[in-house]
C-alpha cells in the first residue's frame, strides 16, 4: 500500500464539513489504523466499533489538528490508540458477549493473523521487533512495555531507538522509488 504524502486538501475540505473528505481519509488510513486497533483490542467486533468511533472523533475534532506539529496519521493514530485502550479498559456491557476475563490481560493470545508483523519490521532482531510491536502496535506506554520485556526503561528506550535507526537504513531506498513514482504521476 502506498503512503499518502499530502493530505492537506482533504483536511481543508474536512474542516469545511465535507463528509466525502472524511471518507477519503478513511479509505487511505483505515487499514493502517485498524492494524493498530485490532492488535490492541484483540477482538474484531470491538475493533470495528473502535475504528468507527475513531473516525467520528476525527470528524468532530479536525479543528484541533495542527499540521505544523505533526502528520495527520500521527494525530489520527493517537486518537485511535486512546479510543482502543478505553474500549479495552471499559468494554461496553451491551456489546460484550464473551468472557470478560479475556480482556483483563492485554497479553492474551489472539489469532495469529492479527499479531504477525510485516514489512521491514520482520528484518529486525526479535527484541527490537518486540519493542516496536509493544509501543507502536499494542498500545503499551514505554513505562509499561519495559516491564513487559523485563528490561530497564533506559535499555528499552535504546531498543526502540536502535530499531528505528535500523528501519531508517532500510527505508530510504524504497522511499526514493516512491517519491520518483509520485513525481511522475504528478507531472502526468
Amino acid at each position: 500500500m502506498a503512503t499518502p504524502l499530502n493530505d492537506t486538501p482533504l483536511i481543508t475540505q474536512l474542516r469545511q464539513g465535507d463528509k466525502q473528505a472524511l471518507f477519503g481519509l478513511y479509505d487511505k488510513y483505515s487499514g493502517a489504523l485498524y492494524g493498530v486497533i485490532i492488535r490492541i483490542c484483540k477482538r474484531e467486533d470491538m475493533a470495528k466499533d473502535v475504528l468507527q468511533e475513531s473516525f467520528l472523533k476525527i470528524w468532530r475534532k479536525i479543528d484541533q489538528y495542527d499540521a505544523s506539529k505533526g502528520k495527520f496519521y500521527t494525530w489520527a493514530y493517537r486518537i485511535a490508540k486512546n479510543t482502543a485502550l478505553n474500549a479495552v479498559r471499559n468494554p461496553d456491557p451491551l456489546i460484550q458477549t464473551d468472557d470478560l476475563s479475556v480482556y483483563d490481560d492485554r497479553r492474551t493470545e489472539v489469532p495469529k493473523d492479527y499479531t504477525e508483523l510485516n514489512g521491514m519490521l520482520k528484518q529486525l532482531e526479535p527484541h527490537h521487533q518486540r519493542a516496536i510491536e509493544l509501543v507502536y502496535f499494542e498500545g503499551f506506554t514505554h513505562r509499561e512495555a519495559h516491564k513487559e520485556m523485563k528490561v530497564p526503561l533506559g535499555t528499552f528506550k535504546s531498543y526502540v531507538r536502535q530499531a528505528l535507526l535500523k528501519l531508517r537504513e532500510q527505508y530510504p531506498e524504497e522511499l526514493m522509488l516512491l517519491l520518483l513514482y509520485v513525481e511522475l504521476i504528478g507531472h502526468g
Binding site: M1, A2, T3, K19, L22, F23, Y26, S30, G31, A32, L33, Y34, G35, V36, I38, E44, A47, K48, L51, Q52, E53, F55, L56, W59, R60, S68, K69, G70, K71, Y73, T74, Y77, R78, K81, N82, D92, P93, L94, D113, Y114, L117, N118, G119, M120, L121, I132, V135, Y136, F137, T141, H142, K157, S158, V160, R161, L164, L167, R168, Y171, L175
Partner: protein
C-alpha cells in the same frame, strides 16, 4: 529542555506516541518549533512510523465504512444546531439503555427486598407465637406431672395393705359430717379426707385428737375444705376424735364440742 535532553531521554518517540504528560509535551513541542534540525528528525520518525503502520495495515470489514456513514448522518441530525456536541447519539442511546437497565435492576432489587422483609417479619411473628405456645404447653405438662405425682402419692398412701381406713361419722352435734382417716401403723402416717365435714365459720376450725390412756393429744388441725390432710401419728392411740375449736387450734380439746370419734 533542549534537543540533547529530548534525544537522550528518548522523549521524541514518546511525544510521537502521545505518551508524555501535558507539561512535557508542551515543552517538547516548543523546542520542536524552534529547532529545525530536531523537527526534521521528528518528521523522519513520523514517516518511518507511518510507513511501518501501512506495512502492517489490516483492511477493516466493509461494513465499518457503511456504519460510519450512518453514524455521521445521525451525528449531523443530532447536532444540526450545535455542531460541537461532544457526545454522539449512539452513545446517548447506549447510555440511556444502560440507565434503564440499571433502573430496572434497582426496582427489582427494591421489590424483592421489600418482599423478603415482609416474609421475614411474618416468620418472626410465627416464631413468637410458637414460642408462646411451647411455653404454655411446657407449663401445662409441668402442672399435669405435679398433679399426677400428688395423686399417685395419695393413692399410694390410701391403697396400701398396711393402711387402715377409719370412718368418722358426725354425732348429733353435726349429723351430716363425715371424715375418713387412713392410718398406717407401719410407716406411722395418718391422712384424713375432710371433705365430708360440715363447713365452719372463720372463727372456728376442726381439730383431731388421739386418746392415749385417757389423755387427748393433738394430731393437728383439719380444714373442712381439704381433701387430704396429713396429721401427726400418735403411738398407742386408742381412739381418734374430732372437736370444733377456735381458729388456730387449742391446747386442750373442748369436749363439749366433740362431733365424731372412732376407736382403733
Amino acid at each position: 529542555m533542549d534537543r540533547k535532553k529530548i534525544l537522550q531521554d528518548g522523549l521524541l518517540e514518546e511525544y510521537l506516541l502521545g505518551e508524555l504528560a501535558v507539561e512535557q509535551e508542551t515543552a517538547v513541542s516548543r523546542v520542536l518549533q524552534s529547532d529545525a534540525e530536531l523537527m526534521a528528525q521528528f518528521r523522519a520518525m513520523e514517516a518511518d512510523f507511518e510507513r511501518m503502520a501501512f506495512e502492517n495495515a489490516i483492511t477493516p470489514p466493509s461494513e465499518v465504512r457503511k456504519s460510519l456513514e450512518a453514524a455521521m448522518l445521525q451525528d449531523e441530525v443530532g447536532s444540526s444546531k450545535v455542531r460541537s456536541l461532544d457526545v454522539p447519539q449512539r452513545k446517548n442511546s447506549a447510555l440511556l439503555m444502560r440507565l434503564m437497565v440499571a433502573a430496572s435492576l434497582a426496582a427489582i432489587f427494591a421489590l424483592s427486598s421489600f418482599w423478603l422483609y415482609t416474609k421475614w417479619q411474618d416468620s418472626e411473628k410465627n416464631l413468637q407465637v410458637l414460642q408462646q405456645q411451647t411455653t404454655g404447653l411446657q407449663n401445662r405438662l409441668a402442672d399435669i406431672e405435679k398433679n399426677y405425682r400428688e395423686t399417685n402419692s395419695r393413692y399410694q398412701s390410701i391403697n396400701n395393705p398396711n393402711v387402715v381406713p377409719l370412718l368418722l361419722v358426725g354425732n348429733a352435734k353435726s349429723p351430716d359430717s363425715r371424715a375418713i382417716a387412713y392410718v398406717n401403723h407401719q410407716t406411722k402416717e395418718v391422712v384424713v379426707n375432710a371433705k365430708g365435714l360440715a363447713p365452719l365459720d372463720a372463727d372456728h376450725t376442726y381439730q383431731m385428737w388421739a386418746d392415749v390412756e385417757g389423755e387427748m393429744i393433738s394430731m393437728g388441725l383439719v380444714s373442712s375444705n381439704q381433701e387430704y390432710v396429713a396429721l401427726a401419728y400418735i403411738d398407742k392411740a386408742e381412739s381418734l376424735n374430732i372437736t370444733i375449736e377456735p381458729a388456730g387450734g387449742n391446747d386442750h380439746p373442748t369436749v363439749e364440742r366433740l362431733i365424731s370419734n372412732v376407736s382403733l
